[in-house]
């Protein structure tokens, strides 16, 4: 079953594959420059004290972004 969620809805330790990066402008460009492109595999590593920002692993490195920015990224969850 295909489970689609937004990146900010994923719990710590959950993994998935990027389906789509929504939005436009600087944030969209920056997110894609950093390797969050359709097909990329992502794992949520941790979240900061107030649950924001979040830290993910993508393309073998660690990246942080705010929850509001992660909300624009559609993920297909994998087990």
């Amino acid at each position: 079953m295909l489970k689609v969620a937004r990146l900010n809805e994923l719990e710590i330790g959950e993994k998935g594959k990027v389906i789509k990066v929504n939005g436009k402008g600087e944030i969209n460009r920056r997110i894609r420059d950093m390797g969050i492109v359709p097909g990329a595999l992502i794992e949520v590593e941790t979240k900061a004290t107030l649950g924001d920002p979040i830290e993910i692993k993508v393309k073998g490195y660690h990246l942080t972004l705010r929850s509001s920015e992660a909300a624009g990224i559609d993920i297909e969850k994998t087990e």
């Binding site: 894609r32 420059d33 004290t49 393309k59 660690h62 705010r66």
Partner: protein, 695 residues
């Protein structure tokens, strides 16, 4: 001798600085790129029969027009046309690092890829077939371990053997999918048939940038004969992409770049073992843990300060000793008179007072270099972003705040310079404007003096309160500025958390020295000038003898100083400052404090005519202050609050001017802080008087 210009590019944390340092050693020049505050470093090295000039480009992940660093890097390559672009690539993080390399290939720049940290990649089970990679990319690839100096010679060999400039640039023909390729081809044709190619811009690259809706390129083509046509066509493509893919063209382009990279990595990179947790990952499980992370952050900052104060104790006293000794020699050599007074009270006490802070500041920069080079600074931004964002700042503001004295003892000069990591001008200016509220090292002697005199029983409590108060004012002021004069959206916080690395000693020293030198130059020149001015103001005009007749000791000294310019200013300001509890003598000290806050203490010493004042012996002055009838706990607290908040010192203002490139903001920084200081002290003093607290 053949001269070759090399532009050194690479992602942040890919080891570009290490490559640069190992090439040029400490012999390099530092400046700014024209018109912007992005630091430019260059140096040269002889290799065989060639002189290789290396220009360090800012570390970037991409080459868009959005960030200043990326724009600077790209402009340099397009406009200066270096003979070679060397892209330092982190082998353990190949895919994302190649994204930048691909963009240099799109420009057609003669490229050499330095595959750095191959040892680290191998230890993580990544086997990279260098030859295959070079073949697939069509550019030379040199494996290296820059921290151990490995591969540097091979890199230089590759640089001198690359075909010379005359050979022309060859933009790579990457496919961006059926949807866009046709459009790029068409736009390229239009550009080639126009007068646009006169510059150094490859036509195909311009076409791609137009589809990416790159603002700089849009401006560039606008005025050409085909400008309107190009912009209209690009706009049409954007609409089409939006309608059919619900996406933006630059998104599709980025996706295809990464697609191309993925296909290369599939062939050239082989995994020899399963991915597992690295040491760095394990350390992070603790250091950025949701519960312990913030506590450890506080602990690490505390340790940093302890380290700085502990290690600087001896060197500071050595430098102080040196100035004391110089003072004594000069006292003996030069006969009494104006010249002696100028040299001793003006130059040595002024400049010496600042220079004796240098060991402390050097060690502070050393400690900060450790936090930065090890990768912990990025974690601090991660942990504090949420809090700072609420007040209109950014995770990256944290560095500037802490350096300025977030835990007592920093320096706003260094803090203001540390705002360069902030991309958004509004967030950056807001940070610059509030950082001077922090309790810098120069305010500490003031607090120490007044606490010793009036708050002996609650020393630690008052000091802690002052820290909290300074943070509160800084954050609230930031919030205020960001919702009025600096209103604007938050910038994205999309940041790499680089793996923890052991900083190299050489790197730390270079880092420390660059910043210290900056401080020395600025502090030395301005402080010297201001010290002499303050000295002159509190020496002239000389009181006529008949006014001093019959007075001696304390009374005479007081009469002398109140006749001078400084004395008159102090008296003149009394009307304004009386509601805060300050008399004319305090006013003189505060005026002197504009130059540097520590001057407040030495001026108080002078105007209370206590003879030679030694900041180390603040106990003496504090005892005298305590005995003065017109001093109270309330007045002392009002003064501490005022000193914390009022105008940044001259050196800080000079740096603010330098960093903001604006007299308007520099003037604002001076004015609004003084207004806040006045209102805060007024409120405290008047409320205290009314309720009878601390009077």
């Amino acid at each position: 001798m053949k001269e070759i210009t090399v532009a050194l590019a690479g992602n942040p944390n890919a080891g570009k600085t290490t490559v640069f340092n190992s090439l040029t050693g400490a012999h390099h020049h530092v400046g700014n790129y024209p018109g912007v505050t992005v630091e430019k470093k260059w140096g040269s090295i002889k290799h065989g029969d060639a002189r290789v000039k290396v220009v360090d480009l800012p570390g970037t992940y991409s080459l868009t027009a959005y960030s200043l660093e990326e724009l600077v890097a790209r402009d340099f390559v397009v406009e200066e046309r270096p003979d070679v672009v060397v892209d330092v690539v982190d082998a353990s993080n190949l895919e994302r690092n190649l994204y930048l390399a691909i963009q240099f290939m799109e420009m057609g720049a003669p490229l050499i890829i330095v595959l750095n940290m191959v040892d680290l990649a191998e230890s993580r089970g990544l086997k990279i077939d260098v030859e295959r990679l070079s073949e697939l990319l069509g550019v030379p690839v040199v494996p290296a371990v820059a921290t151990k100096g490995k591969g540097m010679k091979d890199m230089l060999n590759a640089i001198v053997t690359l075909p010379p400039k005359g050979d022309g640039w060859h933009p790579v023909d990457l496919s961006y999918g059926n949807e866009l390729d046709g459009h790029i081809y068409k736009l390229t044709e239009i550009i080639e048939g126009s007068n646009l190619t006169v510059g150094h811009y490859p036509a195909r690259w311009l076409a791609i940038k137009l589809l990416e809706q790159d603002e700089q390129v849009q401006r560039l083509v606008k005025d050409s004969d085909v400008g309107e046509d190009l912009l209209r066509k690009a706009e049409k493509v954007a609409r089409h992409v939006h309608d059919t893919f619900d996406d933006v063209p630059e998104g599709l382009i980025a996706d295809h770049r990464y697609g191309f990279i993925a296909s290369i990595c599939r062939e050239a990179v082989h995994r020899t073992m399963d991915e597992r947790l690295t040491i760095s990952d394990k350390v992070d499980k603790v250091l950025i843990n949701r519960t312990f992370g913030p506590l450890l952050l506080a602990g690490i900052i505390y340790l940093t300060y302890t380290f700085v104060f502990w290690t600087s104790e001896v060197p500071v006293s050595v430098v102080e000793g040196f100035f004391g000794w110089t003072r004594e020699i000069i006292t003996r050599l030069i006969p009494d008179g104006l010249m002696k007074s100028l040299i001793i009270n003006g130059v040595i006490d002024g400049v010496g007072g600042v220079l004796s802070f240098v060991p402390l500041i050097m060690l502070m920069f050393f400690a900060i270099a450790i936090l930065e080079d090890s990768g912990y600074m990025a974690r601090m931004a991660f942990l504090l972003d949420r809090l700072l964002r609420y007040f209109g700042l950014h995770g990256n503001s944290v560095l500037a705040m802490i350096v300025s004295g977030g835990i007592s003892g920093g320096c706003a000069v260094a803090g203001v310079m540390a705002t360069r990591t902030l991309k958004n001008p509004k967030e950056r200016i807001a940070t610059i404007l509030v950082a001077p509220f922090m309790n810098c090292g120069a305010k500490i002697p003031i607090y120490a003096l007044l606490i010793a005199a009036f708050f002996v029983e609650s020393r630690a409590m008052v000091m802690f309160a002052l820290t909290i108060i300074s943070w509160s004012f800084a954050l609230l002021a930031a919030r205020g500025l960001r919702s009025t004069v600096l209103k604007g959206p938050h910038t994205p916080f999309v940041m790499e958390l680089p793996p923890y690395r052991m900083p190299t000693f050489k790197g730390l020293l270079i880092h420390m020295w660059e910043r210290t030198w900056h401080y020395l130059k600025k502090a030395g020149t301005i402080i010297l000038l201001v010290s002499i001015i303050i000295w002159a103001m509190s020496t002239f005009p000389k009181a006529p003898e008949e006014l001093l007749a019959g007075k001696s000791g304390k009374e005479r000294a007081e009469a002398e100083i109140s006749y001078t310019v400084a004395g008159r200013i102090g008296k003149g300001l009394e009307r304004v400052t009386a509601p805060l509890g300050f008399d004319w003598r305090t006013n003189i000290a505060l005026v002197g404090g504009f130059a540097a806050k520590e001057v407040v203490v030495s001026t108080l010493g002078t105007v209370y005519s206590l003879g030679e004042f030694d900041p180390e012996a603040s106990g003496v002055l504090s005892e005298r202050l305590e005995r003065q009838g017109d001093w109270s706990q309330l007045k002392a607290f009002s003064l501490m609050l005022f000193c914390m908040l009022y105008a940044p010192c001259f050196v800080t203002l000079a740096v603010i001017k330098n960093e903001t490139k604006s007299w308007k903001w520099t003037g604002f920084a001076m004015a609004y802080t003084t207004v806040i200081a006045y209102v805060a002290s007024l409120a405290v003093y008047q409320t205290g008087q009314l309720l009878g607290i601390g009077v």
